[in-house]
């Protein structure tokens, strides 16, 4: 960990802050941006795209395609584990940068961002990666004239809405188990803490994970209630302005 305030400040000055949605491997800009305000200074430090029904439909369709046609749910659990472990390694390599983004956007002390938030993110992804190829199904004893199987199948596209207080930990708690079992995802971080989560999705893209996963990220203005209806063949979303 960088040990001085000046060390962190110089890292922050080199950060390029994403201003786009990330849908599959495509970066989508938005006509309207939401300003990101540093809580430590009250100053605007960047902006994130404001999502609408259009972008959420694109993201859900991309995630749906990735689930129905892509390799992620079909590949062996061992391969999924390996992808996820590489994802965790990539996060470790960018640990300072991700910690700085969390501190910049929501004000968590850097020692906690680096020491607690990033530790939880990395360990969660590693733990569920290791879980991927250690899941067993069941065959109950039903007599000699039948065979019964109890199997578990991924639910499909998972919609994830996460808060700003632990932006990476709580995102990891949802995406890691979902990815481990072969689901694809649409992630909507809080507009207070989107910079770190968008960067996380970019790190997945770095090692071709997102291309396989369509690990997609969106930012929308709250309050919105995202209702994801799951079906065997399609997924619809409704945005309800409240």
């Amino acid at each position: 960990m960088i040990e001085t305030i000046t060390g962190w400040q110089s890292l922050v000055s080199t950060l390029s802050l994403s201003t786009t949605h990330l849908i599959g491997s495509d970066r989508l800009s938005s006509p309207e941006q939401i300003p990101v305000v540093s809580p430590a200074t009250g100053k605007v430090i960047g902006s994130i795209p404001r999502g609408t029904k259009v972008e959420i439909d694109l993201a859900v369709s991309a995630a749906r395609r990735a689930f129905d046609l892509g390799p992620w749910p079909k590949m062996s659990p061992r391969e999924r584990k390996e992808y996820m472990l590489k994802f965790a390694d990539n996060i470790e390599k960018h640990r300072d940068e991700l910690a700085a983004l969390v501190t910049l956007e929501m004000g968590k002390p850097i020692s906690d961002s680096w020491g607690i938030e990033l530790r939880a993110l990395i360990r969660t992804i590693q733990w569920f990666a290791e879980m991927a190829d250690k899941i067993y199904d069941e065959t109950p004893q039903v007599g000699e004239d039948a065979v019964a199987l109890i199997t578990r199948e991924p639910v499909g596209v998972v919609g994830v809405v996460t808060p700003w207080n632990f932006p990476l930990t709580l995102t990891a708690w949802k995406i890691a188990p979902a990815l481990a079992v072969g689901c694809t995802l649409v992630v909507k971080p809080s507009e207070i803490s989107s910079l770190s989560v968008i960067r996380l999705a970019e790190l997945a893209l770095d090692q071709k994970l997102a291309k396989n996963l369509e690990c997609t990220t969106m930012s929308m203005h709250l309050p919105l209630l995202v209702q994801l209806q799951r079906d065997a063949n399609f997924c619809t979303t409704q945005l309800i302005q409240t």
């Binding site: 305030i5 809580p39 430590a40 899941i135 639910v155 481990a180 209702q227």
Partner: protein, 232 residues
């Protein structure tokens, strides 16, 4: 739909707690960590009356010494409140309590600088039905209540729409288990706070949500079971 929502977690300290200093440090840490913006924050401190005065004085002392400042300073313990709206919510609760003359053991305030800052605040002798004891503030505001008996502690702890977490500090093994079973909370810590690892599930009862994250049980949210019956 799986929801992980808020909390108003009870942190119960009995007079037979094995290490009062550890309990006081945990109570103080829990209300200032992440500027109190933590769903499992121990925002309701329940103290057995025989130890209440000494204990709360120590908690207030620790909170007074918390290093608040630039979040990019690695020695900073407490940073700002995450946004203007949240700061206003905290101020609203504190101002309202002051207007009702609730006893204020540690008087917190905004900090005269840019950004959104609020220092730790402790309210004492709060009635269990007061909004300070019922509503999630999501900031560094601690509500202290006292009790005489184990039964009373459980009653106060469960008098909440939330059920995310709770803690018990006691040297009595039977009491630890008996109280733990009676608490309506997704996680109960004994002689510690906010401990755990990936092996244990996390989630809430009542209005704190449904479903569990972490552990092997988290997978259940993302898997559907199918039965296949083959007649031979």
């Amino acid at each position: 739909m799986w929801l992980e929502l808020g909390g108003k977690s009870a942190n119960i300290v009995f007079e037979d707690a094995p290490d009062m200093e550890a309990a006081a440090q945990a109570a103080a840490w829990g209300i200032r960590f992440n500027s109190g913006q933590m769903c499992t924050a121990p925002t309701r401190l329940l103290l057995q009356s025989s130890i209440a005065k000494t204990f709360i004085d120590r908690v207030a002392q620790i909170l007074k010494e918390v290093k608040i400042g630039d979040p990019f300073d690695p020695s900073t313990q407490m940073g700002p409140i995450a946004n203007a709206k949240q700061l206003n919510t905290i101020k609203k609760y504190v101002d309202s309590a002051r207007s009702r003359n609730v006893e204020e053991i540690l008087k917190g305030s905004e900090v005269e600088k840019d950004g959104f800052w609020f220092t730790p605040t402790v309210f004492g002798s709060v009635s269990p039905d007061d909004s300070l004891a019922q509503e999630e503030i999501f900031g560094p505001v601690l509500t202290v209540m006292t009790f005489e008996t184990e039964k009373e502690a459980i009653q106060i702890a469960n008098n909440s729409v939330y059920g995310l977490a709770a803690a018990i500090w006691t040297s009595n093994l039977s009491r630890a288990h008996k109280v733990s079973r009676k608490l309506k909370a997704g996680t109960v810590w004994v002689n510690c706070y906010e401990e755990g690892d990936m092996t244990v599930p996390f989630g809430g009862m009542k209005r704190s949500g449904n479903g569990r994250d972490k552990s092997i049980h988290a997978l259940e949210k993302y898997l559907e079971m199918k039965t296949t019956w083959v007649q031979l």
